[in-house]
């Protein structure tokens, strides 16, 4: 399971080929062999990275340096400098202003990015999760000791703000800012809640953290309590995660015995109490206000906002809600400092992100990598490439409520800002990689089926919109689509986004918008020609959905 340390891409569009891209490819291969780097460097051709005036282009990852126009006589120098000595070969770089098209994104990447980086998963799979001693051996509870002993609550928040950590639950809200909101409200009682509902299909990063390193979440929550002035916390764990729940309960018991939970922690005035609450099973319970309702023992339906949980949360008290992965970053940031954290990732999204890779690739599973790497790297390096014979067509991020990312965006750095600029979202960290055998109509149907099923039914746009969208998609997939359908889907998508009460409905329309924006020809083929280019849809001429 060797990971390549570098990846080299050579453009092979027609223009580059005329300019000798094949010879350059061969020459790079020979040179790399000369230095015996063939096990460390992957070399491939790509058709969508070039531009006329700098063809042929050579892109070297992970630094994401673009070289071009590449001449064969410069190849030995390039390989020696960059791949062997590890220095950027400045004089061969393409001029910054010549970067446009898909690779334009790469200029947003600054500095060099190391390979897989473990901050959040540092101890998962290394320590015994049922032993507090093992956690302490691996630097556990030092951040708590430091916070309580040497820092004021406002120092803790300042460090977090400074680190640039953003929420990993999907929306990417700045964590330090959220903490300061709750800290700034005066109240006799406040709560810290950890959102471990994790019901996005295909996402299992939070489970892995909870099962592999439960004390890190407990430590982070005690620190959060100190910073915002709360003395009680809840961990809302997805109901099906029985192992995670039992390990958390064991860990809480051990933390109590060591005096990490309870009164006067570390001999300070800070006291903290922690409960594990088993989730109620619905997807919407992961939405923060529905989650609060659920903890209060009510039906998990989202509350109208404002007021936000930061002022009116659990039982009406100011409440801090963070995702598991967000919290798991906190002890490391306090231990090593904000500046250390900022050395990972991009300036606007520091740190790492845990991704669960699924789909048509050679290696599925879980990786933690710096923010700002590209989908192409994830697929080629961490997922070991597409399965043989398969070509990458699209990726679905973030379980269901992410985006459909077409291959044309595979060089976009995966960080909150670059993705927002490209009109897509990172979601919760699931990456479903699909080959050309996937039909976008079929994919949208699967997603809408999920949203329809999970809609709580409280607000009309979501309850009705999802069903209507699903019916329309079903008709299209059966060869009954009409020209009107595109407009219908667009308007449903817009209405879902603008009028739904909570994030569930607001994101449910995203797949509709994405397939029309990025795969219009394929949608049109279904509607106008009555063919499914991927050969997935039945096209039977009958649709019986919810008649």
């Amino acid at each position: 399971m060797k990971n390549y340390r570098s990846m080299v891409l050579i453009s092979n569009d027609p223009h580059s080929m005329v300019q000798g891209a094949q010879e350059i490819f061969d020459c790079i291969k020979t040179e790399v062999k000369k230095y015996q780097l063939e096990d460390e460097v992957s070399i491939a051709m790509a058709s969508d990275i070039s531009r006329m005036d700098i063809a042929p282009v050579v892109v070297v990852y992970p630094e994401a340096v673009v070289y071009g126009p590449m001449k064969i006589e410069d190849v030995p120098f390039l390989v020696e400098e960059h791949l062997y000595k590890g220095r950027v070969a400045n004089r061969l770089q393409a001029p910054k202003k010549a970067l446009s098209g898909p690779i334009a994104w790469l200029s947003a990447r600054e500095g060099s990015l190391p390979a897989e980086q473990r901050i959040v998963l540092e101890r998962a799979g290394v320590i015994d999760p049922e032993s507090i001693d093992d956690y302490i051996i691996h630097d556990g509870y030092q951040a708590l000791g430091k916070a309580l002993g040497e820092m004021k609550p406002e120092d803790v928040i300042a460090t977090l703000k400074n680190s640039g950590l953003r929420g990993r639950g999907g929306a990417g809200f700045p964590t330090g800012l959220k903490w300061s909101f709750v800290a700034g409200v005066k109240s006799d009682k406040k709560y810290v809640v950890c959102n471990a509902d994790e019901s996005e299909p295909g996402t299992f990063k939070d489970r892995l953290i909870l099962e592999g390193d439960p004390h890190s979440i407990i430590e982070a929550m005690i620190i959060a309590g100190y910073a915002i002035g709360a003395d009680e916390g809840y961990i809302y764990v997805r109901g099906e995660y029985e192992l995670a729940q039992s390990r958390l309960k064991t860990a809480i018991q051990q933390a109590k015995e060591y005096g990490m939970l309870g009164k006067n922690i570390f001999g300070s005035a800070h006291s903290f109490e922690l409960h594990v609450h088993a989730g109620a099973g619905a997807y919407v319970c992961g939405e923060e206000t529905a989650l609060l309702e659920s903890i209060e023992g009510k039906r998990g339906e989202p509350r109208p906002r404002p007021p936000y949980p930061t002022t009116d949360g659990l039982w009406g008290k100011p409440t801090l809600i963070n995702n598991v992965e967000t919290l798991a970053n906190v002890p490391a940031i306090l231990r090593h400092g904000a500046d250390w954290f900022k050395t990972f990732g991009t300036p606007s999204s520091p740190g790492t992100k845990v991704y669960t890779i699924l789909g048509n690739v050679n290696k599925t599973g879980l990786v933690e990598v710096s923010m700002g790497i590209t989908l192409r790297e994830v697929i080629s390096i961490y997922a070991k490439g597409m399965k043989s014979g398969a070509t990458f067509k699209l990726a679905q991020t973030g379980g269901s409520s992410g985006s459909i990312i077409p291959a044309s965006l595979q060089d976009t750095p995966m960080d909150y800002d670059s993705y927002a600029k490209a009109g897509v979202s990172l979601g919760s960290g699931a990456l479903l990689i699909c080959s050309e055998e996937t039909c976008v109509i079929d994919l949208a149907k699967v997603l809408l089926q999920f949203f329809k099923f999970e809609s709580c039914g409280k607000c009309n746009p979501c309850r009705i919109g999802n069903i209507r969208a699903l019916q329309t998609l079903d008709r299209i997939s059966e060869g009954l689509g009409t020209a009107q359908d595109i407009e219908t889907l667009q308007s449903i998508s817009k209405n879902l986004y603008e009028m739904s009460n909570c994030g569930l409905g607001q994101t449910a329309g995203a797949p509709l918008k994405d397939i029309i924006n990025h795969f219009r020809a394929e949608v049109d083929a279904h509607i106008k020609l009555k063919v499914c280019p991927a050969g997935v849809c039945a096209m039977s001429g009958q649709s019986n959905l919810y008649k």
Partner: protein, 122 residues
């Protein structure tokens, strides 16, 4: 258990734990770690763990520390079993069913020969 009241207390607890750990590994021949996340358990890690413990008992093997851990992100390769033998480098095995576990105990832990066909290159 005395409560931890300061960073110094924490340091002391850490050192004690480290010492306890090194005692078991120095006197012991090997440390066996079984991946027991949900993915591991679903793939049969409990059976693997049971086979390890049963074999140690049946063969009266001594000084072997067996612990569990969470998922390391290689869910496809579960059940995963890792062996640290004395000062040697840690070896990670994948797809370890009870029979493979018994083989690893016999060939690697006792005789010192790594069972190559089940090694996962990290």
């Amino acid at each position: 258990m005395n409560k931890i009241k300061s960073l110094d207390d924490l340091k002391r607890v850490r050192e004690e734990a480290l010492e306890k750990r090194s005692k078991t590994t120095v006197t012991g021949k090997a440390h066996i770690i079984v991946g027991m996340g949900t993915c591991g358990i679903a793939a049969g890690a409990r059976e693997t763990m049971k086979a390890v413990l049963d074999t140690i008992e049946a063969e009266k093997m001594e000084g072997i520390l067996v612990t569990q851990t969470g998922c390391i992100g290689l869910c496809e390769q579960e059940p995963i079993l890792q062996v640290v033998r004395g000062d040697e480098e840690q070896v990670t095995y994948g797809k370890v069913n009870p029979d493979v576990a018994k083989r690893i105990l016999k060939e690697h832990v006792v005789e010192g020969k790594v069972v190559k066909e089940f090694v996962v290159n990290l």
